[in-house]
Each structure stands twice: as C-alpha cells, then as structure tokens.
Symmetry: C3
C-alpha cells in the first residue's frame, strides 16, 4: 500500500506535477504513424498528460506536433487546411510549419510588424517516427535527448505490428499489470482449446498455468528494472520469466526464445485515461499473415476495436463482453481476449486506484519497487532537477524479455542476464 501523498505523486501527470515533469523528460509515444497516412492528410487531435495537441503530416511527409489551439484567437488547428507545407487555421488563415514557424498571416495588412514578429509561432515539439509510432519529446527544448533504442524500433516494417487501445484508468494501473507476471496464472489462465497460447510461450505455457506463486527477484537497472520470476518447471529446471521495465512506462513481456516478442508502452492521456501501445515483433523474420490477421482483427490476444477508432468494443459499460457461461466452462474470466482481461481488472481498480487500501504480498515485489523508483525519481526531479541517467542512454533500451527453462542451479542473476535478454546483434 501507499499513503495518500505518495499515491498522488505516483499518479498525477499534468503540467506542474512532479511525475508529469519526470515523464516529460522522456520521449513518449504521441500517436501511431498510420493515423497520419499521407502527406497533407487530415490533422489528428492528440491529448497527452492533460495537454492538447494537433498532429499533422505536411506536404513533404514530415510530421508536426503543435499545441492544439491557434495562437491567434485559440481556434483548434485540427479544423485547419493542411496544404502547401503547413497547417492553416480556418478562422483567419494563419499558417504554421511542422516546427511551429509562422508561414502566413493574411489577416494582417502587408507591412504590419506582426506579420514578421518572431514571437508569434505555434508551440511545436520534436517528433520522430520509429516502430510505427510518432514519438514526441515534450520536455525542455534546449536539451533534446536521443530516441530510446527499443529493439522493435530498429526493425523493418514487416517485422513488427503496432497498435493502441484506450484504457479508462490511470497509467500506473496499466503499468503495474504489465510487470505483474503473477496474474498470468489466473487472469490469463488457459482453460480450454479455445484459448490459444496468447502469451506466445509455446510448450512452456503449462508452467505458467501451474504455478501461481512465482518467486520474484528484482534488479534495479539504469534503464528501469529487470524482473526475474521463477516458477516450478521440469524435473531439473525452473521456469523463468524475465520481464523488462523500461522507464518510465514501457514493458517488455516475456515470450519463449525464437517466438514473436512483445512490448507494451503506456502513456497517460490524462490522470484517468491512458493509451496502451501494444507491439508484436520478430527480429529474425517478417510477421506472418496469420499473426497479423489475429493482431488486427482482435479476438484472443488483441481486443477488437470499434471500427475507425482505437476504442475497444469490450469496455466497462458492457462488462468487457464477459460471458458468465463461458466462465463456468472454459475460461477463467469469461472474457475472451487477453487484452480485455487486463482492461477489466485494471479499470475496475478505479479511475485512480486508492492504494491506501491494498494488502500486498510477495507476488507484488516488482510493483512495490517500481512505485518506489518512480516516486523517488519524480521527487528528485522536482526538488533537484535530477534527470534519470536512462534519458541520455538510448542504447540501454536494447533489451529483451524472455520466458525460458533454465537449470535449477542457475542463480537469479544468471537468469536475469542470460544472453536471451539481449537482442541479437
């Protein structure tokens, strides 16, 4: 449990908050590249950490992320004309480039000093496209850090699939669920053939289903935390799941060696909503048509989305399409997709979980450490301006999660630093 004060520090991310300040030091996923499919396409509204933006792709294909409202009289640039190298507000025709430069101000007379006033510009943020995501840096512009080098961000386009899904709760509930390998045995338990191996661990799945009380070994690292969870395995082996937490809110979720890898990125929309970016990738081969069909269509792994949106069809208003009969017969929850299972419990903790009421166990070791790290980092940033070292060390993000059987004599440290936890060169 946390006291109220620390729960507030942990969960509030708006402008001026300690955690909001910390998060703004990191590159963050702002939207999917596919939301801006072509030069001069329609602009897109973006909301991150309680602030509103507009994203657009200009005539040359460059992406811009600007404050949502025109600096003139505050009309939304979303309604603007995206053409000829910039976004033009439809109210009075002011036009801005992807870097926020004022390109035209036709409502002022020729020769007016306002037309070339360098202080009049749209506030713009650095962006970078990688891994199917438009990344944005919302922090102080005088020191822009390098883009983190997560493995999927360097792969050919056919080797990864990226989508996102709205979660109606605080980001930290999503993050805690994602580093919590213990719930695998319950929430995602496979009970019938209809539930395929959604965690992509092949023949190892039986070990996850069988042992619900993994022993946790958590190692703080510069990039975040290495979470090594040991379950009963075969005769001479343990079943290890090595999860990687990449600060501030990304998680690599274990799959078996050689199979498709997975990453989760969480970004607060505001204090009570977040985006869940969900990535599947394989360093050695393109994703297959079957894999892509399952990811895109939704079902057992991904949640089905309302067409034309990133909002799941299953949601709290319809109890995630839970089928109580199925819960009696062939599913632990009665909820079909693994993603909806996570949404169900994590949103059910409340818009912002009241952590003063918890009773944590040893299965929550990673969660306790993750909170402490985030709270301390936020406090240190707020009071001393200390920026976590990982911000400047993009290469630290080259990590992998892995689910693996290892000889019993192997230590937790040996397991957590096993070669399988590093991407192939």
């Amino acid at each position: 449990m946390l006291n109220s004060e620390n729960n507030e520090i942990l969960t509030r991310v708006g402008p001026g908050t300690a955690m909001g300040g910390l998060f703004r030091q990191f590159w963050q996923p702002a939207l999917l590249c596919e939301e801006l499919p072509a030069p001069d396409c329609a602009p897109v509204r973006v909301r991150l950490m309680g602030e509103n933006f507009v994203a657009f792709r200009d005539s040359s294909g460059k992406v811009g992320l600007l404050d949502a409202h025109c600096p003139h009289r505050l009309a939304e640039l979303f309604f603007g004309r995206n053409e000829e190298g910039g976004l033009r507000c439809v109210y009075h025709g002011w036009k801005f480039s992807v870097t926020g430069e004022l390109l035209d101000m036709p409502s002022e007379p020729a020769g007016s000093p306002m037309r070339c006033n360098p202080n009049i510009r749209a506030k713009a943020y650095p962006v970078h496209e990688a891994g199917g995501i438009v990344w944005a840096y919302l922090g102080p512009q005088e020191s822009i850090p390098p883009l983190p080098q997560m493995e999927f961000m360097g792969l050919p386009a056919q080797n990864f699939y990226t989508s996102k899904c709205l979660m109606k709760c605080n980001y930290q509930q999503a993050l805690e669920g994602s580093i919590d390998t213990a719930h695998l045995t319950f929430l995602h338990r496979s009970m019938a053939p209809m539930q395929k191996d959604v965690f992509n661990v092949g023949h190892l799945q039986e070990y996850g289903d069988a042992d619900g009380a993994p022993r946790f070994f958590c190692e703080d690292t510069e990039y975040g935390m290495r979470i090594s969870a040991r379950r009963d395995g075969g005769e001479d082996t343990y079943y290890w799941r090595i999860t990687q937490w990449l600060m501030p809110a990304a998680v690599l979720v274990p799959t078996a060696e050689g199979l498709v890898c997975r990453a989760n990125l969480f970004i607060p929309i505001d204090d009570e909503n977040c985006w869940w970016y969900r990535i599947r990738y394989h360093a050695g081969r393109p994703l297959s048509d079957d894999e892509l069909a399952e990811y895109k269509g939704g079902g057992l792994d991904y949640a089905k989305l309302v067409p034309g949106t990133y909002i799941p069809e299953g949601n709290r208003a319809n109890d995630y399409l839970m089928d109580r009969t199925l819960q009696k017969s062939g599913s632990f929850t009665g909820i079909l997709s693994a993603q909806l299972q996570d949404l169900a419990v994590q949103e059910s903790q409340g818009a912002i979980a009241d952590r003063t009421k918890e009773h944590l166990g040893s299965s929550d070791t990673a969660i306790v450490k993750c909170r402490r790290r985030l709270i301390e980092s936020a406090k240190r940033f707020a009071t001393e301006g200390t920026i976590p070292a990982a911000v400047a060390r993009a290469d630290l993000y080259k990590r992998r999660a892995v689910a693996i059987l290892l000889p019993k004599e192997m230590t937790a440290d040996q397991a957590g630093t096993h070669p399988a936890t590093l991407p192939s060169a």
Copy 2:
C-alpha cells in the same frame, strides 16, 4: 422550508455524515433476492449510501455482501469466479467466503505467513433474506440488531410481490412524496376509465379525488410516525387515510381493508440517487395472476422497466413519456403510471431539492415532522451516539396502513389506532 444547514444534514448519507451514520444503524434493503437467482450465479454490483459492494450467492445458497474491491490490489470482485463455496478474484485468485474469510491465496508461496494472516479478509456485512429482499446491516458489527418485522416479510412467497426502481434524486424527496397523502387528489387523480383504482381503495377512491385538503393528525411513535389524514367522506363519516412511516425510510401506504396492501422502502444509492423498493402483499391470500401481471408488466401502477434492468423506461430525459394530449383529455398529468407520476415530480425537485425556497402549508404537516425527527435523530446519533429505540424493537414494525370510512365522532387518535392498523395475528 429548511435552512441550508439542516437540508444538508437531512440529505447527505455518505460515510462520515450524521444521517449516513443514523441510516447505517438500521437493516437496509441491499438488493432483490431475484438478482441472485441460484447458488454460484453471477455476482452483482451493489451501491448503497455512496459505498460500493459486491453481492453473491455461494454454492450452498448463502448470500454474501462484501466490499466491492479485492483487498489485495483492488480489482473488483464482481468479475470473480463464484464457485466451490466462495468468490475468487480473477486477478490473482484470492478467494473469500460470504463472511469475508480468506479461503485461498494461491499467488503466495506455500508456507508464506500471509496465507494465514487473519487480518487479510474481505470486509463482509451481515445479510438476511426476507420478503424478496436481501437485507444488509452496514453498521458496527459488534451490535447487530434484529431484522424489522414488517408484515410482508413474514408472508408466504405467493402472497407478496417485490420489485425496485431507480430514482434519480435524493431519497428524502421520495420519502416525502410517499408520506404525502395530499398529492393523491392531484398527481394521481383518476380522470378517466383508463386510470383504474391504482391506489387500491375500491369505492373510497371518490373521496380521495374529491377532497384535496385533508386535515392532518400526526403522532410520533417509537417506530416513526402515524399519519392520519381526514377527508370529507359520506354523510356521517370521514374518509381517513392512515399512513405509517417506519424509520428511517419505509412507508406503508393506505389501501382499503381486505384489499392488497402496499409498502415503499427507500434506500439511498448515493446523495443524488435512490432505490424505490415497492411491495404489494396480502396477508390472507396469494396474489392473483392478474395482479402479478400488472405489477410485473408495468403500466398504470408500476412503471415499465427497461428489460433486464430496474431502470424505468419513462424518465426525465423523455419527460416520463408524458402525453400532453392525454393531459388535456383523460389524465391529470398525461403520465400513465402512478409510479412515473411520482418520479416526475420528485425528480423534478432537483437532484437534492433546495428546501430553503419552499412555502409549506398545512398539507405538509407530516413532512415537516418527518424531517424534524430525522434531523434530530441524526444529530443525536452524531453527537451522543444515541440509537433510535426502534432499531432494537423489530416487532414495532408490525403495522398496517389503511384507507377507511369512520364515524364522524371518532377522534384522530381513535382512527390512527383503529384495529385495522395492526396486522391480523
């Protein structure tokens, strides 16, 4: 009228409020028995006085009422597996009995001290099924009072019908309407054959319609208040309606001797919503198929409900399906069912009526006294811990309301204590 301070005391029932404290000393209707139709059926979300609970019926048929969230990491137990004598949280498998006892904690290693920590339990509340209702006692567990003995609670199942309906306003507006027999002459006036005798008073209905200015005689009692309202009757008689207010928020509404009786129970969901439990019963015979059909189908008496819910089809958003043409021709309000007529005016007073703006008359005598009694009881409970005597006196709730013609020479006291106001032995 009330001043603002007293209006606040009267209407606020959340944890920590004076009235909330008073209400929690009494057994309260938590949900309908029919909402938990069988052992191991689906759990049900319950919200009472601003607090959230989950109700379930275990494998042996016993009902449990627990705090809504698992004490582990606060996932809603609503999503749980109800099986083998308890409710199991789907997040990490913790399992609880109807009394809140921890039955299983599979996410902790065998031998962990947490697994048998007696402090880890779900907060559970005493419940009792009677009269089609699951009653709950939410007060201090060291002194659980007896269940009130309202007449319908002791009858065979075929002799009563119980349902509930959502009201989107503070409970006190509902209660005040229910003890306000004066509005019978107006809001519920029968104007055409299409409006049957919804108040079940037979040939006496003409007296209710004819005299809109009843004279009120209110007697404070240990159980609440006896409200005797006298209208012009026949030549040598008065038409008396004896209403019983059973503290804190139940009302027996008068019907003629020998006809089906009625009770209303109100329970705050929160400060701006309440449940209206509505009971029809006959001590001497089963309810007929015709009667049941009308109650269940809704129409002139009960409101029609949205199928699968306890939400009325007529509501503020559609002006209670009011028909202005019908209002001109054959109905005082243009609203068909008596229950919707009540909802229309009572919800229209506002989510919480601003009683500083009222102008009360002699027809509001019972309402003034009811408020005073509740406010004084709440204050005495909050300051001195005084619990109303009725809490411990379940037998006091054996009362009846009656609509009756009595000789003119009979005093109000004689009318109010007429043998017809007591259930037959």
Copy 3:
C-alpha cells in the same frame, strides 16, 4: 489577450456576477414565439444565465415566464396543467397566472390564511413578443426599461424569419465571432459554385474573398459600437462593411443594400452554453418562399437542426459533419453551412476560451474594444450601479449594417454614418 481576472468578469453571467448583473438590465430573448404556438399549449423549459424558468401561453394567449419550480414544494411547473387562465402544478394543484399571482391552492382547507397570503406567488418576469421572439426582462422589477427597437421587431410577420441554435460555448466567443468581419475571407470563403453567396452581398462577395486584411475603424456609440471595416474594392472605391454591435450581445451583420438583412442575438444559457438567435428580414418586402425554404431547411446558411429541437445536427461530437475531401476541393473548411463553420471554430476555442493565451492583431480591433466596453460597463454596474444609457433609449437600436462600395475619398466616419446604416423611415 486578457488577464484571467478580466476574462472571468467578461464571461461569467450567473446570478451575483458583475456581467450577469449588467445583462439583466437589458431585455433578453427568452424563447421563440413558435415554441408556444397556441393558448393553453404545453409549457416550455427555459434556461437563461444559469437560472431555470418555465414559459407558458395562457388561455387568453398571454405569455408568462415564471421561475421553474413551484414555490410550494419545488416540483417543476413544466409538468403543470395549462388551462383556464393559468398554470397548475400537478403535485398539489397550486395554480398561477402569467404574472405569478396565486389563483388556486386546493391543498389547503377553505378559510386557511395561506390561501390568500399575498407573499405566496410564483416569481414572474415581464415578457413581450416581438420579431418572433418572446423577450424577457429579468432585472429589478421597479424599473422596467422599454423594449429595444431593432428594425426587424417592427416588421410584418412575413418580412422576417427568426430561429435559434444551441452553441456549446460561452456567449462571448459567439459575439466576438459575429463582430469579426475579418474571418469572412477565410472561414466563410466561397470556393466553389456549391457555396452560394451566404452573406447575401451579391457581386460584392469577390471583395470579401479577395482581401483578408480589412482596416478597422471602430466608433463607440451609446448603443454599443459601429465597426467600419475597409477592404480593397474597385478602382476608385473601397469595399466597406459596417457592422453594428448593439449592447450587450446583439449584432447586425452587413449585407448589400436592398438585399435581405441579418441580425444575430446571443443569450447565455449558462457560462458554457448560449443560444444563437438568427434573424433574416427585409423592410420592403416579404421573404420569398425560396429564402424561407433555405432558412428553415438548413444547408448553406443556417445549420440543419435535429428535428423537433434547436440543436444542430452538426456538432463537436461529429466534427460538424466536416468533409475532408470537400476541404481539399471546394470548401475552405469542408463544413457546409456558414453557421456550422462559426460553431466549429467558436466552440473549438473551449467552453470558455482562455484569453490569456491569445495573440491579437489589428484585425481584432473591434473585439478588443468590445471586451473593454463590456468589462468596464460590468464593473461600473457592479460598483456604482451605473446602467448603460442604451437601456433606456430603445430608439438607439434602430440601426442597420451594410456592405457597400464607397468612393475612396470618403472617410471612415462618413462611411460608418452613411444613410444606409439607418432603417428607412
């Protein structure tokens, strides 16, 4: 830009605010006459400046505007029976005249002193029907000013058309858009034959489209402000648009001489919503069937309304039915009707625009002056009780807006006081 304090003064209009006090000195549009189509028709809910009312037309055809709630127990009079010269509350039958007089109190015994207590009345407000609008005066009843004499209010019914439309933003954003002739060149630019001359300026439209940087000459007047905006015109002429701001929140929008005139009235519903009354009129002839068809049906000029309501079909939830393909080909905004174009940008400024973030130019001259005038008037009213002179000078409201070509040598003052700015005698 404004500082926060002045932005609050400018935009808050509820009871007890400075601007709310100022606005209540003026007659205001309360509802359309057509909403009360006949004697004894259904009452209508009205909300103005954060207060709730009920309007009804009595048996003799007179309109009444009363506080929404019955003074007895606060049921909404909206549900009342409108018959026999008054509105009767359906809860207990109290009945009131259009002037608020208590006509009947049948729930009190004959002879009760309450029945003739002159202090018991419904709070009623003076109303007057003119120009298709029920005007109301919500200020102190001891000094009721004359009704303003806007030109359309004195015309035969067939010479004008009045409707209204819900705007989900603060009234001041609507008002600022309406006096802002600069945006004509952009937001309403005609780009294709499909966009007809929605501003009704005939062959002059080309000048509005061509010059987006009009020069502003604003003259404070007793009635508000005369806003003369000069654009490039022909060889020897300028294209002038003379807009009239009639305090507090009415605007006459320029059209060419001899064509249909236009007026906009804005009235706050509350701080975050307002009604836009939109009037088309011609002093010299009835409106044609074609004109009426376009106004009523909605399309290029008026917004289409959800049938049976005054809510536009295009709204923020559907991005005003914006068509991005159309925006690329034949419309500046991709939004069809001029009214929806205004709604799109003005609602996009936020429920209450944060004017601390603006960057105003010379094209905003009229807006700066309008704000200053309103803020100063509100402050003077709040501190000294000063009522603007225009309140008592109904004849000052006899003005016209005009779009006109004038010789270059004509001064701004000559343009602004051109005979075309006065209605024909």
